[in-house]
């Protein structure tokens, strides 16, 4: 199911939590196929900002970077263990964006 061709576009699943789903019409998960030149998580973030979000961009990014307080998970693993913005995703990957909660 994982595609190995590194230059074709890949279908991945985006997941949202901690309130970020509000930016995506309350979708907790979205299947998307970014264009073939979007291969890394860094580029994926700007692509999501530019193509999937219509309002409250500040909830997702600060400029080109993810805003502080959002945890990124690659198949349920913290992206710090996966080279963060440099991670090259594969078809079938689940990339989650979870905002940290502070209430109690």
């Amino acid at each position: 199911q994982r595609q190995t061709n590194m230059t074709s576009s890949k279908t991945i699943v985006l997941e949202f939590g901690g309130g970020l789903e509000a930016l995506f019409s309350d979708a907790k998960s979205l299947s998307v196929t970014p264009p073939a030149d979007i291969q890394s998580l860094g580029k994926l973030i700007t692509w999501v900002r530019d193509h999937l979000i219509t309002a409250r961009h500040d909830m997702f990014v600060s400029g080109d970077a993810l805003r502080p307080g959002v945890l990124v998970l690659v198949n349920d693993v913290d992206w710090e263990l996966e080279d963060t913005v440099n991670y090259r995703f594969a078809g079938g990957d689940r990339i989650a964006f979870i905002s940290t909660l502070h209430g109690g």
Partner: protein
């Protein structure tokens, strides 16, 4: 049934018999509990079930702290089940202490007037585990920094709306602190609170109860169990779905828990930091105190 050689007094054998009978827990863990000190920071939606289950289980000392002068509000009661309608308007810490004592009069309750940058490290240093049951960004960095400095395990819970999160920080050399995972605070415009965004009672209920469970595992040192070190539990109450994800290890360069920590908790300006300013250089040299919070 425990044998007569147990150091537990007869009253404890009756009260804790269902834990003593449990092979995973037993006399060994109960004996450790009887000398254990746990601190709950925030006596609200998370703190309520956490303090009841820790008191019921028989920790030796239960520390309770919340915002200075915070009182029980009627709007708390749908989720803050340790309080009572008749105690609306009373001190929240005093009300929480009354609830813990009513369940188990053998637990020593220590109430603290405030949990602020000035006293945080000293306060957590006397406990074996700390539960972060607060409700705001400044308090979460303060609790974590204090536990990092004092090397005390921190069971950190959070809940809002229909979602909850739970992990264990500062529990061993490879376990991160809050600042390892979230080096910078979110923009204030992105921060929700239960008072503004609402919350369904069982959501902090589940997370706070799980915080007590994690604390009991840490205090009892029970074998054949694992805690949520380097794991984050995500709770989606809308679908009653749970998910556990893997977190990064401790960052050696972390300013709070790293090999050469640079944050001096007592002098750090937590409220300014939570608003996006430099916490190490408070304006005019005055340290702004971060209040502990209740949720």
């Amino acid at each position: 049934r425990p044998t007569m050689s147990t150091p537990l007094p007869p009253s404890s054998v009756e009260r804790y018999s269902r834990q003593l009978l449990l092979p995973t827990f037993g006399v060994r863990a109960q004996t450790k509990l009887q000398t254990s000190r746990a601190l709950i920071v925030g006596c609200g939606g998370l703190g309520s079930p956490a303090l009841l289950y820790l008191a019921g289980a028989g920790v030796s000392v239960l520390g309770l702290v919340d915002r200075p002068h915070d009182v029980v509000d009627r709007s708390n009661l749908h989720r803050q089940i340790a309080h009572a309608d008749a105690r609306v308007g009373q001190s929240k810490v005093a009300s929480a202490a009354a609830a813990a004592r009513a369940l188990n009069p053998h637990v020593v309750i220590e109430t603290h007037a405030e949990f602020v940058a000035r006293n945080a490290v000293e306060l957590v240093s006397t406990y074996h585990v700390v539960l972060d049951c607060t409700d705001n960004v400044a308090a979460r960095y303060l609790v974590s920094d204090a536990c990092a400095a004092a090397k005390v395990p921190l069971v950190s819970g959070a809940a809002i709306g229909m979602e909850g999160q739970l992990t264990v920080y500062c529990a061993g050399a490879d376990t991160p602190c809050y600042r390892c995972v979230f080096p910078a605070p979110p923009p204030p415009s992105c921060v929700g609170s239960c008072d503004a965004a609402g919350v369904l009672g069982p959501v902090p209920g589940v997370i706070g109860t799980m915080q007590a469970l994690e604390a009991l595992k840490l205090l009892g040192g029970i074998e054949k169990t694992t805690t949520l070190r380097r794991k984050l539990l995500l709770f989606d109450a809308a679908d009653s779905a749970f998910r556990t994800v893997k977190l990064r290890p401790r960052a050696r360069e972390c300013p709070a828990c790293g090999d050469e920590p640079s944050i001096e908790v007592a002098r750090f300006a937590y409220e300014a930091f939570a608003l996006g300013r430099d916490g190490k250089a408070p304006v005019g040299g005055v340290t702004v105190e971060a209040p502990a919070a209740n949720a």
